[in-house]
Amino acid sequence: MDVLKQLLGRLHPIIVHLPIGFIVFGLLLQWYDRKRQTYGELIPIAYLWGGIAAVVACLTGYLQYTGEGYAFDTVKWHLWSGVATALFSFLMYAKSEGTKAFSFLERTPTITLSIVFFILISFTGHKGGNITHGEDYLVEPLPNNIKSALGYETFEEKQIKLNEDNWEEALLYEDVVKPILNNNCVSCHNPKKTKGELLLHSKEGILNGGENGEVVVANDASQSEVFTRMKLPNDDDNHMPPEGKRQPTKEEIILLGAWIDAGHPFEGTIKENGLAKELFTSFFPQNLDNDYPDIEITAASQDSIKIIEETGVHVDPISESSNFLSVSCINKPAFSDADFENLLSIAPQIAQLDLGGTQVTDAIFEKLTQLPNLTILKLDNTSITGQNIKQLSSLEHIKSINLTASKFEETHLPDFSGFKKLKKIYLYKTKSESQGIKTLNDGQITVDYGNYELPPIPSDSIIY
């Protein structure tokens, strides 16, 4: 008998669609027929069958409730609204039959009853859905900001804020481990969802483990499921987080492992727990060694760029997200000092300038000082001698100057001592006979003279 009870109970999720179908059909028919009045006889039939089916649904629903061990609190709204739906269906039947038995039915307009009924059946269905799929089933796919506007709890991404100075003082669990779990795991392993009966949002949850028992084994990450499941290949069925969910980075997984290996402490700073620095460096703000200045700048006008490009000079943004420009004369070897004026409309944006192989002379240096953000300058294969190159020291971002195969004279080398950020000068194929690398300004500037050699060795000519 119990088997039958359970079986019938489990049929509830199927059977409920029957009354929904009848009732919605009845409501739609009623609306469709409001003027035509040709299907009047059908409408009560729909409600009658809707009522009967709703009773069957109620009975199976009750069986499921008792048979599957749901708490009354979980099902109470669905249960009572289900019963109400069944009763209401019969009411609608009575109303549409035109019965005179209930006077209040006569007084209430059909449209009011229909709307109430529609709301009631939607509410019942929704509550039922919540029981099987979970409270947040419908809301979950929404973006975080809409979710919180609707009053749902969101698992906001928490940034891990560590840097060179504070990393030792940061709390290991609170500031590092917790945000990793929060960002990658807690959207399923939280008190509302509790997938696999596991909670990862709190110390207690982590220690309690899930349906397969413990998930952390002190001092042994390789035995701790919370770690090993993340280490599995992405296409493994047991891999966590599951396919389609946000995946932790390699560094995050390694750090979790190290935390477990250290005995998964919930208290204390990183220093107190004695974890190595290299575990954390990937969370430090990345020191972006960009080839252009770290300042915000307005975009150059597209018209100015177009005008310059029409002269045969390349003007390209350094990247889609940067307003800095890279200007190249690779297709315009005839470019001369006089042409420089054309570039002034985009002067603040120019970060890289390639004048290699052009006709420019030493007079260009004075003009170049009008490019405040110039970072990389190429003057290779030109007749530059370096006269007046000192003027470029007013450019505070300039980092690299390529003078390969120019007429640069070594006497101007000391002129570079006033360059604050200059790192590299290329002097290969100039008049200098020097070889290899020299440094200036106490190692700040590397001068590469090139002239590297690969002297012949005996093995060059041994053929096996």
């Binding site: 990247s319 190249s328 290779d380 290969y428 590469d448 090139g450 690969l454 096996y464």
Partner: protein, 503 residues
């Protein structure tokens, strides 16, 4: 006449029907069903979800000049790539991956546990392990290992970052080369160079954006598809240039055809092609117009850049070039010249690394040594030469084969071979990168004691691709091309940037 027109119309309709795929069908179904579109409406409400930024140039403008330069999504570390591919698969065990333990097991049977479930190209039964046939030393400040097969290379070892545990899932040359260059072992995908030129264009308007140079007497087993454009417009495919004879076949005007006549001819052809385009709007017609014009400009520019005779003597000696011949050294020097002139992607293939031990040229202790000698000086010279010109900072050099070789000696047909050789092996092999954005002197990944499998820092071919794209300024997961109703990536659905070798 009428018949012909009707046949043409029939053909056009048939083509249209063929072009419709299952994905188009499903897509249009989905668009018809408003319900399914709801999710995208919600996404549109979310100010945090940024749609992938469209290429900044209007599509039609790019159509007109397919090689126009485009900015990458984020600041690139390098402008150009020189990819050195050793076709046939070099033995990592005699070059970079030093396995002293393997010496001890030399001549012993390979443990069954390693062979179970594994497939080899030629090895049958139980092969014997073979110790390293080269002597190794740690070189440079990095202390990375390199063998005496590469005596010059130690000079630049601190410029290089090694990947010691690359793996591939292909063990035959053709598919493995395709995988290595297109991200798929099957035909039809664009090569890395095609992706790069498609995404970035090319600066020099007189030279192709993607140049291919081959040496070693043969082209790669996988054929021209390894530098093909796949489903990308064909203008992005690699242009094969030769270091012997005409740099590009038929680049010289035929006898009796003056440069002027040529120009007029091309103008006339292009005029007709433009009319065709106005009618059919097929972007391939634009690509063709552009290629005619580029070919015309190339007739002057290419012979110039491909001429190594004008290089100074000491440079020729440094590379060890042999003008007039087809050689890897010539190609290395050419690669530098091309990069210097703004070519985006230079692909070198050197054939002859398939050291099975079946012939003298294909032996580990002799043939391989010769091949190593042929590349050692040129590669070292290339790195030094780029460095002294300030070009190494903005160029990426990638070196590798399509897979590695077994720690076991090959026993083709279960017999002892005439020479020492190793079979194809995809489980673990070495690649290296050098240049802009690369952590100098790094070494990532480790193989087991005999070099059979990676035990630490294993990286896949997709990871290598993701890293190359990253250095060019692309997020490999967002860099896509829509084809047959779905977006394609070089790295398909895999790949992770190898941060360990990035500066």
């Amino acid at each position: 006449m009428k018949d012909q027109i009707e046949r043409l119309i029939q053909e056009k309709l048939a083509r249209e029907v063929q072009a419709k795929t299952r994905r188009h069908f499903i897509k249009s179904c989905a668009q018809g069903m408003g319900g399914l579109a709801l999710s995208s409406i919600f996404m549109a409400c979310d100010p945090l979800s940024k749609p992938a930024k469209k290429m900044q140039m209007a599509f039609s403008e790019r159509d007109l000049n397919p090689l126009a330069t485009l900015p990458p999504p984020f600041a690139p570390k390098v402008k150009s790539v020189i990819y050195l591919h050793m076709a046939g698969a070099p033995s990592q065990l005699e070059m970079f991956d030093y396995k002293p333990e393997l010496h001890k097991y030399d001549g012993q049977d390979c443990p069954q546990s390693l062979l179970e479930g594994k497939k080899f190209a030629f090895i049958k039964g139980t092969p014997k392990l073979m110790g390293p046939q080269a002597e190794f030393k740690q070189e440079g400040e990095s202390g990375n290992w390199v063998s005496n097969f590469l005596p010059h290379f130690k000079k630049v070892i601190d410029e290089v970052a090694f990947l010691k545990a690359v793996h591939t899932d292909q063990f035959n040359h053709g598919p493995a080369q395709l995988f290595m260059h297109t991200g798929s072992a099957r035909l039809g995908r664009p090569s890395i160079g095609a992706w790069a030129t498609y995404g970035l264009g090319s600066e020099n308007q007189n030279l192709p954006g993607f140049v291919v140079l081959t040496s070693g007497g043969n082209t790669p087993d996988a054929g021209k598809s390894v530098w093909g454009s796949g489903f990308l417009p064909s203008v992005y495919q690699g242009v094969q240039c030769r270091s012997k004879g005409d740099p590009v076949l038929y680049i010289e005007d035929p006898k009796g055809v003056s440069r002027n006549l040529k120009k007029n001819t091309i103008d006339a052809i292009n005029k007709i092609n433009k009319e065709e385009y106005a009618k059919y709007a097929d972007p391939e017609i634009l690509a063709r117009i552009n290629q005619y014009e580029m070919a015309y400009r190339m007739q002057i520019a290419v012979p110039e850049v491909m001429n190594i005779n004008n290089e100074p003597e000491h440079i020729k000696q440094m590379y060890g070039v042999e003008p007039g011949k087809e050689s890897f050294a010539n190609n290395c020097l050419l690669a530098r010249k091309l990069v210097e002139d703004g070519v985006r992607f230079v692909q070198l293939f050197d054939w002859g690394w398939d050291t099975h031990g079946n012939i003298r040229e294909g032996s580990i202790d002799m043939g391989l040594r010769n091949k190593c000698r042929e590349i050692d000086r040129p590669i070292t010279a290339l790195i030094l030469d780029l460095k002294q010109r300030g070009l190494l900072d903005e160029t990426l050099i990638v070196w590798g084969g399509e897979f590695g070789r077994t720690p076991m000696q090959e026993n083709r047909g279960n017999k002892e071979m005439a020479y020492k050789g190793r079979d194809h092996h995809g489980d673990a092999f070495t690649m290296w990168m050098a240049g802009g954005g690369i952590k100098k002197g790094a070494s990532h990944g480790k193989t087991d004691d005999i070099g059979f499998s990676g035990i630490e820092g294993r990286v896949s071919v997709h990871d290598v691709h993701a890293t190359i794209l990253q250095l060019l300024g692309f997020d490999h997961e967002r860099f896509t091309y829509e084809f047959q109703g779905r977006r394609f990536r070089l790295t398909d659905v895999e790949g992770e940037v190898i941060k360990e070798i990035l500066a």
